[in-house]
């Protein structure tokens, strides 16, 4: 295809426009987080005249933000681990073993991922209250794992499906049990699939809000998104601190996306397109 210089310039301008639209709100939040309170209520200038880290300091000194960050990391990490463990086990038979009712099982699994969380949150709340798990990490890990599991199974089943069939057959002929064939031959080849599914489960749990809001009551288990919404403001909304907390919870996401963007894209498209 030939493209004249004028066309090239127009494409570049459109691209700049798209990236500005996608990134400027995040950038604005970052600028807000380093503006002193006095500058937050005055526009212009857009850029901070005297940038400060005061909002970040307040976050850690006046709020139990360390605990909230720890909660988020622990819940998301353990959710990713649990979803991978359960999901890998289930994906292998769905992709490779002769079992009946696969279509039905896949349908149920995918159906579960489409349930609105708001619909199950009521009954889950009653269960969690009865088990005495309110305001613990476990309430969140269990509910997040349930919701992350279908996508995990789907991504891993697609990945296993695309590995050469002969690998597993050869292992079986050489005397491996199905379990050995899976753990010794297929699983080591699954690392990219595991990374994709694990990161998606982590991101889901890291950003989840409804369960985290409903099943927690104090800083003991509260995650960052809930803390941001329930920020204590006596007289006014603390926009600077909200912005600082937003940036802190966004940073790990940015790192994951920039490093693993191929795996994330692969995971998301696994279910939607014939690969």
């Amino acid at each position: 295809m030939t493209a004249g210089p004028a066309r090239q310039a127009m494409l570049r301008a459109t691209l700049a426009l798209v990236l500005t639209w996608a990134l400027s709100p995040i950038l604005w939040q970052a600028l807000t987080s380093v503006k002193p309170d006095t500058e937050l209520v005055i526009l212009p200038p857009l850029l901070p005249a005297q940038p400060t880290l005061a909002h970040y300091t307040v976050l850690f000194e006046q709020h139990p933000f360390n605990q909230v960050l720890l909660n988020s990391f622990a819940v998301a990490g353990l959710t990713a681990f649990a979803a991978l463990a359960l999901g890998t086990l289930a994906a292998f038979p769905l992709a490779r073993l002769p079992i009946r009712g696969k279509l039905l099982i896949l349908g149920v699994v995918l159906g579960c991922s489409l349930f609105p969380a708001i619909v199950t949150v009521g009954p889950l709340f009653i269960i969690i209250r009865a088990l005495g798990m309110r305001d613990t990490w476990w309430a969140l890990i269990i509910s997040h794992t349930t919701f992350a599991l279908p996508l995990t199974i789907w991504v891993l089943a697609n990945f296993l499906r695309d590995l050469p069939e002969d690998l597993y057959r050869a292992a079986r002929v050489d005397g491996c049990t199905p379990w050995q064939g899976f753990t010794r031959v297929l699983l080591p080849l699954c690392r990219p699939g595991l990374a994709a599914a694990g990161i998606l489960a982590f991101l889901f749990s890291w950003t989840e809000f409804l369960f985290a809001l409903t099943f927690t009551a104090t800083e003991a288990a509260r995650t960052v998104p809930v803390a941001i919404v329930l920020f204590p403001g006596v007289h006014e909304i603390r926009w600077g601190e909200i912005a600082a907390a937003s940036i802190l919870v966004t940073l790990p996401v940015v790192v994951l996306v920039l490093i693993f963007h191929r795996q994330i894209v692969h995971g998301l498209t696994a279910g939607a397109i014939k690969g």
């Binding site: 494409l11 691209l15 996608a22 604005w28 209520v41 359960l86 999901g87 086990l89 289930a90 292998f92 038979p93 490779r96 073993l97 002769p98 079992i99 279509l103 099982i105 349908g107 149920v108 699994v109 995918l110 159906g111 579960c112 489409l114 609105p116 969380a117 708001i118 619909v119 199950t120 949150v121 009521g122 794992t145 349930t146 599991l149 199974i153 089943a157 199905p178 379990w179 890291w206 809000f209 941001i228 926009w239 909200i242 912005a243 937003s246 919870v249 966004t250 996401v253 994951l256 996306v257 920039l258 963007h261 994330i264 894209v265 998301l268 498209t269 279910g271 939607a272 397109i273 014939k274």
Partner: protein
């Protein structure tokens, strides 16, 4: 012999995951249906059978019909905009240019960050007094006085739609980019040899081949927008005057602000049915993928 051991191993490996889903996803749905037939108000310890009372009340409650209307409007406008915008951006990013990889990674960010952050971010941008949107609009002379974006009934829902479009268009872009990458380059070469215009190529090569994935994406986005809770709950809380109160927000308020678990569950059932309807369509469109995954097993 061999097949039997494979089958047995298979069922054993499936058991934990299916057990978790049955207990924590399917059982709550059944419990929801059961709850919707009962008067259950937690703080008063009320728990008695109600039959279809809640549904009868629901059908006569203007607030319910309002929330259904708000939901459908939000879903319809958001998803239409996301599909159109997503297609344009995907076509742009599918081209080869220096830094294309970076652009394709950066575009994911709005989708990947927590929705709560999205909501707080836009709430600050829309702020009537200190918001950057009002500042930019006034500085360029587009409006003469500050606009109360989230406090004005006719504006709030559209402000929320813009935030939703900002956040979820990247998802559409990711999937359409993958779809575009699968169109054989030969088709474009053939089309260029035939002297087809870019528009004709798009219309007769790209669009027909992209249509299946586009349909899947749109249906998935519809399901997601139908159940969207975080954005509206944080951004507007359903206000002003219930103009942004979707079924999800309405359900949540009845469940956890008034603790009427019976009546709230009845709204939940209605929402579940709406989502199921779209989901069935989604399944039917994606049926080839199911068969592929399930069918070719040894």
């Amino acid at each position: 012999m061999r097949d039997q051991s494979e089958t047995r191993t298979g069922y054993a490996l499936l058991l934990p995951a299916l057990g978790v889903l049955a207990l924590l996803a399917l059982y709550p749905i059944l419990a929801l249906c059961w709850l919707s037939l009962r008067h259950r108000i937690l703080p008063f310890g009320i728990d008695e059978f109600a039959g279809l009372d809640h549904y009868a009340v629901l059908l006569q409650t203007p607030r319910f019909w309002n929330s259904l209307g708000v939901t459908l409007y939000f879903v319809g406008v958001s998803v239409a905009l996301e599909a159109a915008l997503g297609l344009c951006i995907a076509l742009l990013l599918a081209r080869n240019f220096p830094g294309a990889g970076w652009a394709r990674a950066l575009i994911i960010l709005p989708w990947a960050i927590p929705t709560v952050v999205t909501a707080k971010m836009w709430e600050w941008i829309y702020h009537p007094d200190f918001g950057v949107l009002n500042y930019l609009l006034q500085a360029t002379g587009l409006v003469s006085a500050p606009v109360n974006w989230l406090g004005t009934p006719s504006l709030a829902i559209h402000a929320a739609i813009v935030a939703d479009v900002w956040k979820t268009t990247p998802f559409v872009v990711i999937l359409l980019l993958a779809g575009l990458a699968m169109i054989p380059p030969d088709l474009y070469r053939a089309s260029a040899l035939d002297g087809a215009s870019p528009w004709a190529t798009f219309r007769h090569v790209t669009l027909p081949l992209l249509r299946p994935i586009l349909l899947v994406v749109v249906l998935f986005r519809m399901i997601d927008a139908l159940r969207a809770f975080d954005l509206l709950y944080v951004l507007t809380g359903g206000g002003p005057a219930d103009t942004t109160e979707t079924l999800a927000i309405y359900t949540y308020k009845i469940l956890f602000q008034t603790l009427q678990f019976g009546y709230g569950s009845a709204i939940g059932v209605v929402m579940f049915l709406v989502v199921t309807l779209v989901s069935l369509l989604h399944f039917w469109v994606g049926r080839a993928d199911f068969r592929r995954l399930a069918g070719r097993a040894p």
